[in-house]
């Protein structure tokens, strides 16, 4: 909520001319989200400090039908966020744009400057340093909490010798980057403006990808908001859409390849993809002419929409489109639409079920849908010690309810096969560690007739 800029340039009060703000007065500016106050805590020839204080209206922050409860109790009024950037552009617009009628010569001159940002929300001190230090700042970070690891807000001091417009531009772009939360942009074009502000330095920044990526995040749509509303108080932090995040992308590819091989070996023509997610398997199967029909099933409507976009269902020729069906369905409900297929693939879906619900899943698939071939993949927990992030025994995704060791998976596979008249074989997927097995384990069930 507070940004101060200090200079020791002589005369320091030239800062007032650069900012077009008189050091002798306190001023108020109306902004769409509240007010901005500008005043000078210090103004001498040796040292001059300007303060930009945001007075954000907490009530008008939340608008529209999609709001969830936590939107109302909000840290936005108190911290440095995208609002600060908007205020800089509105209140210090000329300085940011490098215009000064009184001191045009100072605009491009490197000045001794210190910026203090109050309550910047950021993951760690390192993240602040990694963004500002490459740009030539001396960075000082004070966490809000004595325990550095649990602090969420930090007061940041940036010391540099730079033209003022550069400092303002960097703050303008990097504060929302660090904040990494929903941006309260006033209009859609703010994103474009932000990118435009990066001209001349962003392309050289070693962390430019990180910076740009964060701008493209946090565009919630209505479906996700409805789900956020339903998600219970307990798991506010969990992602909605689960895909294994650990490991290299190629493990995902290897998995798809292994499943496709198992499916083609089975001679299946009509295939079910249960828990199809964004449709990677569907995409792979569409390339195989022998597959006449693929039904992708997922419980998340949002995932199905993404799958539809990914495989380009809209633009497909009729003949091609008729091969694909996307259905909302759940692994724990019996579903007549899923009967009569040759094969079903259940890729990395099992571990998203509560163990107590596995029985329902087995009934649904092995007893009622009962395709001839069923291919199941799931993480191999034994392998997790190979991932640094999981050293403390964590699971690969926050939504995983369990991950099975090779022994547990083998025993589940055997009992399900026996109970429902299937024969099962197990296969590793991915690099096999001689002691721990492969990262992914796969079972291929064949119905015995």
């Amino acid at each position: 909520m507070l940004l101060t800029l200090t200079t020791t340039h002589r005369p320091a009060t030239d800062l007032g001319y650069l900012l077009h703000k008189n050091p002798a007065r306190a001023q108020v500016f109306n902004l769409p989200f509240g007010k901005a106050h500008v005043f000078y805590p210090e103004a001498s020839a040796e040292r001059c400090t300007v303060a930009l204080l945001l007075d954000i209206d907490p009530i008008s922050l939340v608008r529209g039908r999609g709001a969830i409860l936590t939107d109302y109790v909000n840290d936005r009024p108190y911290i440095a966020s995208s609002f600060l950037s908007v205020a800089i552009a509105r209140v210090f617009g000329s300085a940011l744009g490098g215009r000064s009628s009184e001191r045009p010569d100072l605009v491009d001159e490197s000045l001794p400057l210190t910026a203090e940002i109050t309550a910047l929300r950021c993951d760690s001190e390192t993240s602040v340093r990694s963004l500002f230090e490459p740009l030539g700042y001396e960075v000082n970070v004070e966490p809000s909490d004595t325990d550095e690891s649990s602090a969420r807000y930090r007061n940041v001091r940036l010391v540099c010798r730079k033209p003022l417009k550069e400092l303002l531009t960097h703050v303008y772009v990097l504060v929302p980057t660090l904040d990494n939360r929903k941006h309260y942009w006033i209009g859609d074009d703010e994103v474009d403006k932000l990118i435009a502000r990066g001209e001349g330095w962003l392309e050289k920044h070693p962390n430019r990808e990180f910076i740009v990526r964060r701008y493209l995040k946090h565009q919630r749509n209505l479906t996700e908001e409805a789900l956020a509303r339903l998600r219970d108080d307990g798991d506010a932090g969990l992602g909605t859409h689960a895909t294994a995040t650990v490991g290299t992308a190629s493990l995902g590819d290897l998995r798809i390849q292994a499943v496709v091989r198992a499916l083609t070996d089975s001679g299946a023509v009509r295939v079910l993809d249960l828990g199809c997610g964004e449709g990677r398997l569907i995409e792979a199967l569409l390339r195989l002419p022998q597959i006449s029909e693929i039904a992708g099933v997922d419980v998340s409507v949002e995932a199905l929409n993404r799958a539809e976009r990914r495989i380009g269902l809209e633009r497909m020729p009729d003949r091609q489109r008729q091969r694909v069906k996307l259905l909302q369905g759940a692994l724990t409900y019996r579903d007549a639409r899923l009967a009569g297929y040759d094969a079903a693939a259940v890729i990395e879906a099992l571990e998203h079920l509560e163990p107590a619900r596995l029985g329902a899943f087995e009934q649904m698939l092995f007893h009622f849908a009962k395709p001839e071939t069923i291919v199941v993949t799931t993480p191999n927990r034994d392998y997790n010690v190979n991932y640094v992030e999981l050293a403390d025994g964590g699971l690969r995704h926050p939504d995983h309810r369990f991950e099975w060791s090779r022994e547990e998976f083998a025993s589940w596979t055997a009992s399900v096969a026996a109970a429902h008249g299937y024969a099962a074989t197990l296969e590793p997927v991915g690099d096999v560690d001689p002691a721990l097995g492969a990262p992914t384990q796969m079972a291929v069930f064949k119905r015995c007739n």
């Binding site: 909520m1 507070l2 101060t4 002798a24 306190a26 106050h37 005043f39 000078y40 805590p41 210090e42 103004a43 204080l53 907490p58 009530i59 039908r65 709001a67 409860l69 936590t70 109302y72 109790v73 840290d75 009024p77 108190y78 109050t118 309550a119 929300r121 809000s144 909490d145 969420r152 807000y153 479906t223 908001e225 409805a226 789900l227 509303r229 339903l230 998600r231 219970d232 108080d233 307990g234 798991d235 506010a236 419980v299 998340s300 409507v301 909302q328 369905g329 759940a330 724990t332 409900y333 019996r334 579903d335 007549a336 639409r337 998203h352 107590a356 029985g359 329902a360 009934q363 649904m364």
Partner: protein, 847 residues
């Protein structure tokens, strides 16, 4: 002449053009029952006489007929139907929907038809047309019986036709106006000794005089026998005599079993294999006089395949009945009633593999059947097999209706060794609790006892499906989800958004005289389903190895989901079971389980993530930001800059933020064992056989005080009773609310004294909350008490919240009531699923 036809059938009017079919139809049937081929010609071509439209018109006739027959509606086809190929389509359609076919032939002289046509402008076709029609009619009318048309009537003069009176009678299966009470008895197979014990247990007086059985029940109950009285067992003729006598004197009904049907063929001299115990029956019958054998044959021949009772709520058949065959008539219906459905395959013992029709049953009637021995009888989708294999050494079971209680008598001995393994003798029914996506998917309309036709929109159902399948616990535990609750109307009092006066006003205006104010606990909503032991969980909920109960949140997820916390659930359930032992609740309510609506504290137990992610950071950020702002302003003030207003504002904001942090702190305390938890139940929702919605809240408070008496973990709910007509009474309650909220309490919930309250025919809000000023900082933000903020926040819209609260209340009680009535899981699930779907509606979450 009186023409008697079944009240559900397909009537074919047969007659040449001009024979008066339409006039006949008009006189004897309702307009909507008659499908006229000419009208359909008109509909598809704008010309009711167009011959070119014949094919399309008959497509339409058949289509309408199929919809009507599927809905079990009597249907009349008004077309010439002169040739047997014309009729074949319709007899086939009737067979598909198991409807009897009636042909009414208007066989008037050709001259009469011709003269009539001559008077009508639209019938100017050649004379040969009518001549051909009359000819083919006469030629083919002999084949009506062969075509499978059961009822045939023929009239040959205008006088005859004018004298006709059509009388409809119900199908033999149709006893919907008979509601019992009944005791339905499973397969006897000659187990007469066990039958006598069972009848005694059921309260029947059995007398045997002059070779005649006389059966009577003091409460006029009647018996229903599900067939397979004979074969295999030791006293077959006694069973036969008892049942035949009881049916004869009206104290019993009986449907045939496959064994009786086979015996009938034997008695009629057919060549039948003497397998599956038929030899025992034949041997016993041979010792009987010939006229008894004749009586037996007559008795069997007269048995009706199945019955439907009690407005369609109960059906009985030997081997079961599918919904689309129920109360219909065809060979297929009879076969299904006798044999059930088989897949056409046989198992390793050569026995037919049975198709598990019950797992797909979706009908409204409870179907009670036998035929396939099971180890114990349990409800599967509203069907129950009560053949518990007495003759194989199991037991003889009866189901009391409408009580739905099971009464069993164990077999004295194993009279007959089963073929094959026990697995093939005693059938395993597939998991009866697997829900079908069709039961929840898409737009749905749910009828509840309190509110009819609650619509669930497809988008909301889609969102609920995701939540239900990804987060909710086993649906068999989910017999209830609590409704959302609306706040009182907004208060205009300075510094407040909510105040009890508004809640009292609301109920006063709604015609409520007395309310109860219950302290609003500072925790999270929790529903507890508690069983006396795991055996009850298995028998009543069908849940094994998941403990003796469950505690779940308002969205149906496990309250204690993860790791170490999971043990709290078991510990808390154990505490509740002990508390119920201590206060004698199981016996007092004759129940093995109960369901509580409660609040579980501390809030931080469930909401720790939320506290860490959102609520605590706000306090942290605010302190940091406001401190720095104040420091900068103070420094500017020393320079003589006038910023005192702003400085005061920052100071006020600091105070509010500190109050917010203090409010938060009341919601967290460390939990190291179950002793640190508090469960405050406020509704004893249901026990076996009863949803306690008829009991007032005073009753609930008393029962729950008894339950909590012996255990500190069960927290009481402080409450006050308010007589709304008495100012003093409501003022006292207001003072009480002030004392609670001044101390930082969450506030109170005001409820009508009656659990379900109505004003006229409209449902009154079951509860309205009045939250305290400090608690609301957590909801509306730390600085909501600034007058400028309050002014805007007072513009809140309660209508949609209130409508939701009513619908969810009705759905929650409906779910319980269906569970208590032992309705199939899908029917219970439909209601809780709808509550969850409602909750995805976007309403202001701060309300």
């Amino acid at each position: 002449m009186q023409l008697e036809i079944p009240d559900f059938c397909l009537v074919l009017l047969v007659g040449a053009s001009g024979s008066g079919k339409s006039t006949f139809a008009q006189r004897h049937f309702a307009d909507t029952e008659v499908i006229s081929s000419d009208a359909c010609r008109g509909m598809v071509s704008d010309d009711p006489t167009s011959q070119a439209a014949t094919n399309d018109a008959f497509d339409l006739v058949r289509y309408i007929a199929s919809k009507r027959l599927a809905a079990r509606r009597l249907t009349v086809i008004d077309a010439t139907n002169a040739r047997s190929e014309d009729r074949r389509d319709f007899t086939r359609l009737a067979r598909e929907y198991h409807a009897l076919v009636v042909a009414i032939v208007l066989d008037l002289p050709e001259r009469v038809c011709r003269d009539r046509n001559a008077t009508r402008a639209d019938r100017n076709f050649g004379q040969h047309v009518v001549r051909n029609q009359v000819r083919s009619l006469r030629r083919s009318s002999k084949s009506l019986r062969r075509e499978g048309i059961r009822y045939r009537f023929r009239f040959q003069s205008e006088e005859e036709i004018d004298a006709v009176e059509v009388k409809r009678r119900p199908l033999w299966t149709d006893r919907r106006d008979d509601a019992g009470p009944f005791d339905i008895v499973g397969d006897l197979h000659g187990c007469f000794d066990e039958l006598l014990v069972l009848l005694e247990r059921l309260g029947y007086q059995v007398q045997h005089q002059n070779g005649q059985f006389k059966i009577a029940h003091p409460e006029n109950r009647r018996l229903i026998f599900l067939g397979d009285l004979i074969d295999r067992g030791p006293r077959i003729v006694d069973c036969l005599r008892l049942v035949m006598d009881a049916v004869e004197n009206g104290s019993a009904l009986c449907v045939p079993g496959n064994h009786e049907v086979k015996l009938l063929r034997k008695l009629r001299g057919r060549n039948v294999r003497m397998s599956h115990g038929l030899d025992a029956t034949v041997a016993e019958l041979e010792r009987e006089p010939a006229d008894f054998r004749e009586c037996t044959a007559k008795f069997i021949d007269g048995l009706v395949s199945h019955f439907v009772f009690d407005e369609g709520r109960l059906a009985v058949a030997h081997a079961g009945m599918k919904a689309d065959l129920l109360n219909r008539s065809s060979g297929a219906v009879r076969d299904f009633a006798l044999f059930g459905e088989t897949t056409g395959e046989t198992d390793e013992f050569g026995l037919p593999i049975r198709y598990d029709w019950a797992s797909e049953y979706r009908g409204d009637a409870a179907v009670v059947y036998g035929h396939t021995p099971v180890i114990d009888a349990h409800w599967v989708n509203g069907t129950i097999c009560i053949d518990t294999g007495c003759v194989f050494g199991g037991s003889l079971t009866a189901l009391r209706y409408p009580e739905r209680e099971l009464v069993s008598v164990p077999a004295v001995e194993t009279y007959y060794e089963p073929v094959g393994s026990p697995r093939t003798t005693f059938n395993q029914t597939t998991d009866p609790h697997l829900l079908d996506i069709e039961d929840v998917h898409g737009k749905r309309v749910v009828n509840t006892g309190l509110l009819p036709n609650i619509t669930v929109r497809a988008e909301n159902a889609a969102a609920a499906l995701e939540v239900m399948s990804r987060y909710a616990i086993d649906p068999r535990w989910l017999i209830y989800l609590p409704p959302t609750m609306s706040p009182c109307e907004t208060s205009a009092i300075d510094g407040l958004l909510e105040h009890p006066a508004e809640a009292f006003d609301y109920y006063r205006v709604s015609g409520i005289e007395r309310v109860i104010c219950e302290e609003k606990h500072m925790g999270s909503r929790a529903v507890a389903v508690v069983c006396r032991d795991e055996e009850v969980a298995r028998k009543r909920f069908g849940i094994e190895r998941q403990g003796a109960g469950a505690i779940y949140t308002r969205t149906g997820r496990a309250f204690f989901a993860t790791g170490a916390n999971a043990d709290y659930e078991k510990a808390l359930i154990d505490r509740l079971r002990n508390a119920a032992d201590d206060c004698g609740m199981w016996d007092a309510f004759e129940t093995g389980w109960f369901c509580l609506d409660a609040e579980l504290m501390p809030w931080s137990m469930k909401a720790d993530d939320l506290l860490n992610e959102f609520y605590r950071p706000v306090a942290e950020a605010a302190r940091l930001g406001l401190d720095q702002a104040k420091a900068a302003l103070e420094q500017a003030a020393t320079r003589g800059i006038d910023c005192s207003l702003l400085l005061d504002e920052m100071q006020d904001r600091s105070t509010m933020v500190a109050e917010y942090a203090a409010a938060l702190q009341r919601y967290e305390w460390p939990v190291e064992s179950v002793n640190d938890l508090r469960l405050a139940p406020f509704h004893l929702l249901a026990t076996e056989g009863a949803v306690h919605a008829e009991q007032d809240h005073g009753w609930h408070m008393e029962r729950l005080a008894e339950l909590g008496a012996s255990d500190d973990v069960l927290a009481p709910t402080a409450h006050r009773i308010v007589d709304l007509a008495d100012r003093e009474s409501s003022d006292q309650a207001i003072a009480w609310w002030e004392s609670i909220t001044d101390a930082g309490g969450e506030g109170m919930v005001v409820k009508p004294w009656a659990f379900v309250a109505k004003k006229g025919r409209t449902l009154v809000q079951p509860a309205v909350k009045c939250r305290g000023r400090e608690y609301l900082r957590i909801i509306y933000g730390p600085e909501y008490t600034v007058e400028e903020n309050l002014r805007r926040l007072r513009q809140r819209e309660l209508r949609s919240k209130r409508s939701l609260a009513q619908r969810e209340f009705a759905l929650g009680l409906e779910a319980l009531s269906r569970f208590v009535k032992q309705e199939p899981l899908r029917r219970v699930h439909e209601c809780v699923f709808a509550v969850l779907a409602m909750e995805s509606e976007p309403v202001d979450p701060r309300l």
